[in-house]
């Protein structure tokens, strides 16, 4: 994990800068109410474990959560705060 880039996180960073193969915990999403609620419906609620499946600089990344694969655009991934996953 790269050093903290977002204020207040415990070793926190944004999803966009996570390396492939990492397990992270979603700490929060910096977006409007409506968008956050929509993402929550897709399973992206704070506290959920995400595994970064693919990450190649530039394009969208792929994460695994709750048994599915989600493609997340870079702009969106920059707004998703994550922490290293520790234990279950």
């Amino acid at each position: 994990m790269t050093p903290a880039r977002t204020p207040g996180g415990r070793g926190g960073t944004v999803l966009a800068s996570c390396k492939g193969g990492r397990d992270v915990r979603l700490a929060g999403i910096r977006a409007g109410r409506e968008l956050r609620a929509r993402l929550a419906a897709m399973g992206l609620v704070p506290g959920i474990r995400l595994r970064v499946m693919r990450q190649e600089g530039g394009g969208p990344l792929v994460v695994a959560l709750r048994g599915m694969r989600l493609a997340i655009g870079r702009v969106m991934a920059e707004k998703m705060d994550v922490e290293p996953w520790s234990g279950s």
């Binding site: 609620a37 419906a41 599915m68």
Partner: protein, 687 residues
């Protein structure tokens, strides 16, 4: 006979809903489009144990909020359509997120049965489920099914009839949201009962919950000041207690309950493996290989659509042409000539114009359906997203835009794969700028007429490029004005790859073809007849045609007709672009289809058959116009006056004439300004 049982079929996108729907209802189904929306839902019927069962296949959704058109349609049907029973298809490999929807259906108070679709993927992942336990936790019946093998259908049908005829249908147990949220729900419920009695129709709890979730639609419906005040006070209170907005706290609670239920009932016997889908993606969505593979697949789609579709298109056109000839021959000249011409030229010509697109449309939708059902479409969007984001469009817009080089009409239909209406309309409105195949005959006539050999290919290239650049600018402009707002952020499920079924592909082909014929076809036919009338009336008196050759007479008749007069009348307007009345008249005819421009020019320049006599037509054009004027004609035909089929399909797909007319008007205005600028600048430079 008893009343039919009305079942709503709900589920997440890609959960296997459509497969189950097809298996249940067989061929007894039809598409029901909701007025004013682009989302469609199907209805089908079947009989079981003496009961008639009507199934509505709702659009796939993750939730019952009202953010997307799909959600609004699904929710409206569930909340206001009062089905007797909801069957939700659950994808077992994706249980948690699927149950999120189930929990909300239970909250609506609707009887629910879960069709637990045990996909091969779930099996491959080694998932084991304690279904009786899960059923008890949720308070709703669960029927295991294997969609693509048709297993569990009889059991599901039994469960539907049992649930619908039971004295107490299984409504499940609404979740308890913890003391803070429950207190807020309770007090909003009380205010609702007091100030809006009856308005929530026995769904006070659900309404209160949705109001706390800040649901736009319900907030508008329950705008009583007392209700608004209570909801806002409670929201503020909840936010201070929970540290987040209520909708997030509620989502968190729902997922909390679901995770708990899943921990108790799901066992994984094998470590989550690298699935087959991930292995396929390692190639198909590869950062370097992905795009060439995508382009190759697109090339294949193109070949199928336009090359394979070419011969049947010609047969259809030839068949209709033969029919028109038959009418002309069997119907002796001189008797009711007008009716003869109306049937042979107006109606049959129009029908020809309509059916000519049919092979392309059917084949394109076969391809799209294969790409969509297999799961590849999501990967294509994933690959193209980076590029398309810069234009302010979604990755999926790329496919319709590419198809637009073939023909705008199927391309506009293909925008259906876009989920957001903003993306869809933006793509649709700029689509006519992608230079379609019907403009090519215009270029192939005019370019050799005015440009010497080494310049021909660059001129053609420049025309295509101009279209692309204008489409990009147009999309950017629309994004900054009419469809402003945060660019739709890409968060998209990559469903596991699946083999598409023949049945689904055939169903799509038939449906799209039929929809096109019925909806767009009628408009195209009507416009064809109007255009026939414009180029026929008023008729040239026989005395005026005397002494002219056949070609001369046709040319004179055209000049005498409304279209010719319109061309003449428009001449002052057209002159800044460098056009005379003859070009104007040809353009009016070209509204029927862009390639008609060539035939019309042939008539006004009194050349027998434009296609056979290309060289003599080119020679006359060279005499009449400068190369600059020729270029301006091509530019105008590229940018302006989308053909009537485009107008009809845009009207149909956008749901209103407003967009179709705006598209036509704005594109024509841009074409006018651009062509005028080019012509005037060119003249100043001495061309």
């Amino acid at each position: 006979m008893s009343r039919p049982i009305r079942v709503a079929l709900a589920g997440n996108p890609n959960a296997g809903k459509t497969t189950l729907f097809n298996l249940l209802t067989g061929s007894r189904q039809h598409v029901a489009n909701y007025p004013g929306v682009t989302v469609e839902s199907r209805e089908g019927t079947f009989r079981h144990r003496g009961h008639e069962i009507v199934v509505t296949d709702l659009p796939g959704t993750y939730s019952l909020t009202s953010y997307t058109e799909e959600e609004r349609v699904a929710r409206h049907h569930l909340a206001d359509g009062a089905p007797d029973l909801v069957v939700q298809v659950i994808d077992a490999s994706n249980l948690e997120r699927n149950l999120y929807l189930a929990v909300q259906i239970v909250e609506l108070g609707l009887p629910l049965v879960l069709a637990f679709n045990m996909s091969d993927l779930a099996r491959a992942r080694g998932l084991e489920f304690d279904l009786p336990r899960l059923s008890a936790l949720l308070g709703i019946p669960i029927v295991p099914t294997v969609g693509h093998k048709g297993q569990g259908l009889a059991e599901l049908s039994d469960a539907i009839v049992d649930a619908a005829t039971a004295g107490h249908p299984p409504r499940g147990v609404p979740r308890h949201y913890g003391p803070d949220l429950e207190a807020a729900i309770g007090s909003v419920e009380a205010v609702l009962r007091e100030h809006a009695p009856g308005a929530a129709a026995g769904r006070e709890r659900w309404t209160a919950l949705k109001l706390l979730e800040n649901d736009g639609e319900l907030r508008r419906r329950f705008a009583h000041p007392a209700v608004v005040a209570e909801v806002e006070a409670r929201q503020k209170h909840l936010q201070s207690l929970g540290g987040d907005v209520p909708e997030m706290l509620i989502a968190d609670r729902r997922y909390g309950f679901i995770s708990g239920a899943c921990t108790e009932t799901v066992r994984t016997t094998a470590e989550l493996r690298h699935t087959a889908s991930d292995r396929i993606d390692a190639v198909l969505a590869h950062p370097l290989l992905g795009i060439p593979i995508f382009l190759a697949i697109m090339y294949a789609v193109f070949t199928v659509t336009f090359t394979l579709g070419g011969p049947p298109m010609e047969w259809l056109e030839a068949g209709i042409g033969a029919l028109a000839d038959l009418v002309r021959r069997a119907w002796p000249e001189g008797r009711a000539d007008l009716l003869r011409s109306l049937i042979a030229d107006g109606i049959l010509g129009g029908v020809g114009g309509v059916v000519a697109f049919l092979p392309n449309i059917v084949l394109l939708f076969a391809s799209i359906s294969i790409l969509e059902d297999s799961g590849y479409m999501a990967r294509a969007a994933f690959l193209m997203d980076r590029l398309m984001q810069r234009v302010g469009l979604h990755g999926r817009s790329f496919i319709p835009l590419l198809v637009g080089f073939g023909c705008t009409v199927p391309a506009i239909l293909a925008t259906r794969t876009l989920e957001s209406r903003r993306d869809r309309l933006t793509t649709m409105l700029v689509l006519p700028l992608m230079s379609c195949g019907a403009r090519l005959p215009i270029y192939t006539l005019l370019i050799p007429a005015f440009f010497p050999e080494p310049a021909r290919a660059p001129v053609l290239w420049l025309l295509y490029l101009t279209g692309i650049v204008l489409a990009v600018l147009g999309a950017l402009a629309l994004r900054r004005t009419l469809f402003r707002g945060e660019a739709e952020p890409l968060v998209m499920e990559l469903p596991p790859y699946r083999a598409p079924t023949v049945r689904s592909v055939v169903t799509h082909m038939a449906e799209r073809g039929w929809q096109y014929l019925r909806k767009a076809g009628t408009v195209i036919l009507a416009i064809s007849i109007v255009l026939w009338a414009l180029t026929t009336f008023p008729r040239l008196p026989a005395s005026a045609a005397a002494g002219l050759t056949e070609e001369g007479a046709r040319s004179a008749a055209m000049a005498h007709s409304a279209a010719g007069r319109l061309g003449h009348g428009l001449e002052p307007v057209l002159r800044p672009m460098g056009f005379d009345w003859r070009a104007g008249t040809a353009m009016i005819g070209a509204f029927a289809a862009k390639e008609v421009f060539v035939a019309q020019l042939g008539i006004v320049f009194a050349v027998g058959n434009a296609e056979e006599d290309v060289e003599s037509l080119r020679a006359r054009l060279r005499k009449a116009y400068t190369p600059l004027q020729g270029l301006c004609m091509m530019l105008f035909m590229l940018v302006g006056t989308p053909c009537m089929a485009t107008v009809a399909v845009t009207r149909r797909e956008s749901g209103s004439w407003r967009w179709a007319i705006a598209q036509f008007g704005v594109l024509t205005a841009i074409a006018y300004a651009l062509t005028t600028a080019v012509f005037q600048a060119g003249r100043l430079m001495g061309y």
